[in-house]
Each structure stands twice: as C-alpha cells, then as structure tokens.
Amino acid sequence: MNELKEFYAQMLLLRLFDQQCMDLKKKDLIYSGYHPYEGQEAVAVGFCAALQPDDVLLSTHRPHCHAVAKGCSLEAVLTEMMGRRTGCSGGLGGAMQFIAVENHFYCGSVVGSNLGLATGFGLAMKQRQSGQVCMCVFGDGASNHGTFHEAMNLAAIWKLPVVFVCENNQFAEAMPVKEFVACERISMRARGYGLEEITVDGNDVEESRRAANTAIELCRKGQGPVLIEAVTYRIRGHYVGDPEATYRNPAEVVEARKYEPLVRTKKKLLDGGCDPAELEAMQLAISDKLATLEQWAIQQEFPTLECAVDHVGIALANAPQVRGPLATSI
C-alpha cells in the first residue's frame, strides 16, 4: 500500500507538472512544440521505479515526465523547457531535446533515433561488465522507423542489456496505431528478431513496475534484450492545440479518462482504506511546490550568445599556436 501511495504521489506530480507546462506553453513561456504526457504517467513512474540511478534512460520528444521520473530535478527540466540557463542543457535544448548526464538521461526530437543509440550504451555496459542497463523508451510511431528494425536486430544478436519500451499511446501524431501497424501487438515484433517479448497494461503502475523489473533482471543476467509494449492512451493531442477532431472522436477520450492511471490508482488506494483527505492534502502540497517552482523559474536568466557557441566542439590541441591567429573553430 505504501509503495502504491508513493507511486500515486509521483504520478500526481507528473500530472500536475504536465498541466503546468501546458499552461506555460499557452502563455508562450515554453516556446517549441510541447507534447503533453497526460494519461501516460504510469509508464514513466512504473518503469523508472525499476531502474537504478546509474542505469541509462533514453527518451523521446515527449521527455519531461520521463526525465523527472528518472531523477532529474524539476528545476532543471522546467527551466530547460523555458529556455533558461539553469536548464539541463543550459536552455539550448528546449522541450524536446536535452541531456542530464548526472542522471544518465538523454532525449531527442527525432523519432526512432534513440533505438540505435541504445545499442551503443548497451554495448559499452556489456563490454565493461558494468551491470548497468539501458532503457530506451519510444512511441508506437517509432516502431515503424528503420532504426527500430536495425537496432532490435543488433541488440539481439549481441545480447545487449537494453530494455526497449514501446510506450504505445495509440497515436503517431494524428495517425491511429491501428492504421499503421497491421500486427495485433507491436511487442510481437520481438519474435522476428529473437528477443524477449512482454506486453503490459501501461496504465497500471504496479504492473508496469513488475514488467520493467522482469526485463531489467533478464538484462542484468545477460539474457536481454527485451521488448516491452506498454499499452496506454494519449489523452491530449500530439501537441498543445493540435486539430484533434481530424483523427479521433471526443467520446473516445471521455471513455479513456475512466481508465487513466491516476483514476485507477486513486480508486485502488481508496478501496484499500486510504484516507481521501490524505490524497487531497498530497495534491495541495504538490500544487504549492509547483507554484513556487514556477515563480523561481520565471526569474531565471536566458543563455547568452556566448553560451550558444561555448560547446559546439572541443578546441583542437594548441589551436592558435599551431594554426596561427586565423585558426577556425569546430
């Protein structure tokens, strides 16, 4: 019960954080396309709960909740999305792409790329016998990317400690998954590559945690990689303000809200005897914390032009001495 309550608290934090970000996007304080996470919180919380701090998480263009669940600070994630210097990537990455090395967290805005990258993290872990695993989260849309195929195969032939997590939220931008995937389940594709296959209810945080544990243990024993399909539902649009009516019936969303992870977990907690007042107080405390966070974030500085060129590359050894005053930079 205590673990479930902790999961609930984390999911509630992600829900309220996501809503806060949507609000900031509408206020034009988040500048790029913003991809809401509402309804998928059990995947972030359940899967990240199974990771050790030094395990690597590779995320997507919808990364903010994965990042927080992996241990990145709310301050660093929020101010990154707001383009401030205190952000994970110094405000140069934004809402879709940033890196938090100390949290072993990487994400990027090109769909499908991270599967290829995951094989490299996995290879280094295996070769160094570090005991780490690399978890690579991607969407149902990425499962049709060429890199999905190449990376699944490479990871499988080399038995790399990589947990591939297909977070199936039913839509690739505006296209419903049933229209672009002919097989019954995306996880079935694992069979074609010879790797372990797991399908899990991605709206059930405890099930997600268990599935992740199973996969991670296989990987740590050298029996990876594993492909997990976590079935969930994208309650909001692909981005804030997308023309939702072009691809789904609003009634579908109303129905999905009945089964979203917070509703389900809350019911389970209350059924188990949890005091509703406690959950109310939890929500108020999180809201207060996020309000304070936002006040702080708005005051943070933006990067300067110097910051924009600080780390394009590492200066070549003795550059001006060897190459003269006109030495060019990388």
Binding site: A124, G324, I330
Partner: protein
C-alpha cells in the same frame, strides 16, 4: 624509412591505437573476418578479438547510433561505413546526435568517435558507390572532417582522430589504398586542422584534396617542365580549416586554383575560394579558379568515369589558362 601502402598505414594506426587503449574498437561491415573491404584491418581480429573488432549486420543507422552511444559511455569507437554513399543511412545519428550532444550536455558529454569511410571514383563503381560527399559534413557545426592523401598522412591523422574527443569524419579515397609512401617506423601524430605544403612553388597555388592531391602533384611536375612553378597545398582537414597556410601561399603566388573531385556547386571548394578571396584580395591577380568534378552522377565504364573528374592533364590545362600561358602541344 619503410615504404608501405595507404591501407597498411591505416592498419598500423589501428594496431597502435588498439594496443595503447582497449576502449578503441572498430565496428562495421566485414571489418573483422575480411579485415575491411580494402584490407586495412586485416589480421587484427586474430590479435585483438571481437571486443575490438566488431563485424556488424548491414545496418548503417544502428551501427552509427551504436558508436555514438558507446562514445557517450567513454569508449572510443571507429565506425566504418564501407562506402560513403551508404552514410546517407547513418546521417541522422551523425548529424542530429553525434554533432549535437556535446553542446546539449553543456560540454559534459564527450564523443570520441571516428566515422571512417571512403569515397570517390576510379574503381568503376558508378554513381551509388563513387560519390564525393565530404561537403555535407563541412557544413555541420560540431564535426571535424579529415581527408588524407598519403600513407604518412593517413596514419598520423587517423591516430589523432582516434585520440580526439570530438566526432571526426575520416574520409579516405578508394583509389588511394594501394598507393605507397614512406611511413616512419617510430610513432608520430599529425595534428588535426593543419594543412601541408606538398610542393613549394612561386607562380600558382593549387589547393587540392584527397586523390586530387596526387593529380595536382603530377600536374605540377608536368608544368615545371614548362617553366611553371606550382605550390600544391593539401588542407588534410577540410574543417576546421587551416586558413593561414592557404593565405600565406596565395599572398606569395597571387594566383589560386582549388581542385576537388566533388562538384564545385555548394561545396568546400567554394569555402576555400572564399577564404582566399576574403584574405588575399589585394594579392590576387585573377579570381580564384575552381577545377572540380562535373555536376553529374559518376558514370560507369572505363573512360567516362575519368572524364567527369579532374585529371592531371585537365589540372595542367586549367593552370596554364589561369597563368595566360599557351596550351601544351
């Protein structure tokens, strides 16, 4: 000094660096059993094993991504893309990730990775196996682009590329692997970003890259017999560009020609030309001449292929024209 082939010089660089640092590994199609298409890693699988020589499926995107991920973990991968034409499959990993992660991590992620490939014409492989695509990478901030032309240079530059903490595009030429040259027995490095004056001269500066350096040197020898003295410069690293060596030469000669196998339009030859114009305008007697590959897919077959790229004779003819000398008889 021992004389070895270009391919053997590469093999020596691999051997020395893999011995020095167990984190150095070569990953690519047929780099192990075959020892690479042009045998530049032959015998190394037996010596270093599969940890350092990784044969991969034909999956350029995955293996480029694999290199980036492994480099982020502190390893030093050399990702071999068998033909530069196939690098189109791997571009996402190189351009969107390898070239961006150092910046996106506030300088904390280092990517000591070499993308090693070969391009160019001369072996009758037609338009999907003969391209000169180096220009793509010069225009990407965060990448170093190297094009060696001699056995000595390829060894010294490859060792430096492997030791550098930036992603390096290391582009060889398929027609150079069997060229021979002197390579010292003792260890040496050649700094990245440093041009080399391959031949000193007074009348004209020829800036040439890769295979074209060997053509330019032969043209210069030909022209010498006609009393024309050419200085031939090999930038070796296309970017970061050693501007000073180019400028010093053109300020002396007052005439400049840029020779590349890649088509001129939108290419590095224009960059080199612009650098010379910007810094040597007062010294230039005529505008910089670009003498480059034709704007076409490299055609198949014995003669057309060579007709579409600069040759010794065409370089010499262009030089005479630039100098206002009569054509050779």
């Amino acid at each position: 000094m021992p004389t070895v082939t270009f391919g053997e010089a590469i093999r020596q660089a691999y051997e020395e660096e893999m011995t020095r640092d167990k984190d150095v590994f070569l990953i690519g199609e047929d780099v192990g059993r075959w020892g690479s298409l042009y045998r530049s890693s032959r015998g190394l699988l037996e010596k270093f094993g599969t940890d350092q020589l990784k044969d991969t499926p034909i999956s350029e995107a995955a293996l480029a991504g694999c290199g980036v991920g492994a480099a982020a973990m502190g390893m030093r991968p050399i990702v071999e893309i068998m033909y530069i034409d196939f690098i189109s499959i791997a571009m996402d990993q190189i351009v969107n990730h390898a070239a961006k992660w150092h910046q996106l991590s506030n300088g904390r992620v280092k990517l000591p990775i070499v993308f090693k490939t070969q391009g160019g014409a001369g072996r009758r492989n037609s338009s999907q196996h003969s391209q000169s695509l180096e220009n793509w990478f010069v225009n990407i901030p965060g990448l170093i682009t190297v094009m060696p032309s001699t056995p000595y240079d390829v060894k010294g530059l490859l060792k430096s590329a492997i030791r550098d903490d930036n992603p390096v595009m290391f582009i060889e030429h398929k027609s150079l692997y069997f060229d021979k040259g002197e390579v010292p027995a003792e260890e040496y490095l050649i700094p990245l970003g440093l041009a080399d004056v391959k031949r000193s001269g007074e009348d004209l500066t020829i800036i040439a890259t890769s295979w074209m350096v060997t053509f330019a040197l032969k043209a210069a020898a030909l022209l010498q017999q006609e009393g024309i003295s050419c200085e031939v410069i090999d930038p070796r690293t296309l970017w970061p560009l050693d501007q000073q060596t180019l400028i010093t030469s053109v300020q002396k000669t007052g005439l400049c020609m840029v020779v590349t196998e890649a088509p001129a339009e939108g290419g590095w030859s224009g960059e080199a030309s612009a650098v010379v114009h910007e810094h040597c305008f007062g010294a230039l007697k005529k505008p910089v001449r670009r003498h480059c590959g034709m704007r076409t897919g490299i055609p198949y077959g014995p003669s057309l292929e060579f007709d579409c790229i600069p040759s010794v004779n065409s370089i010499a003819a262009a030089a005479r024209d630039l100098l206002g000398k009569p054509a050779a008889h």
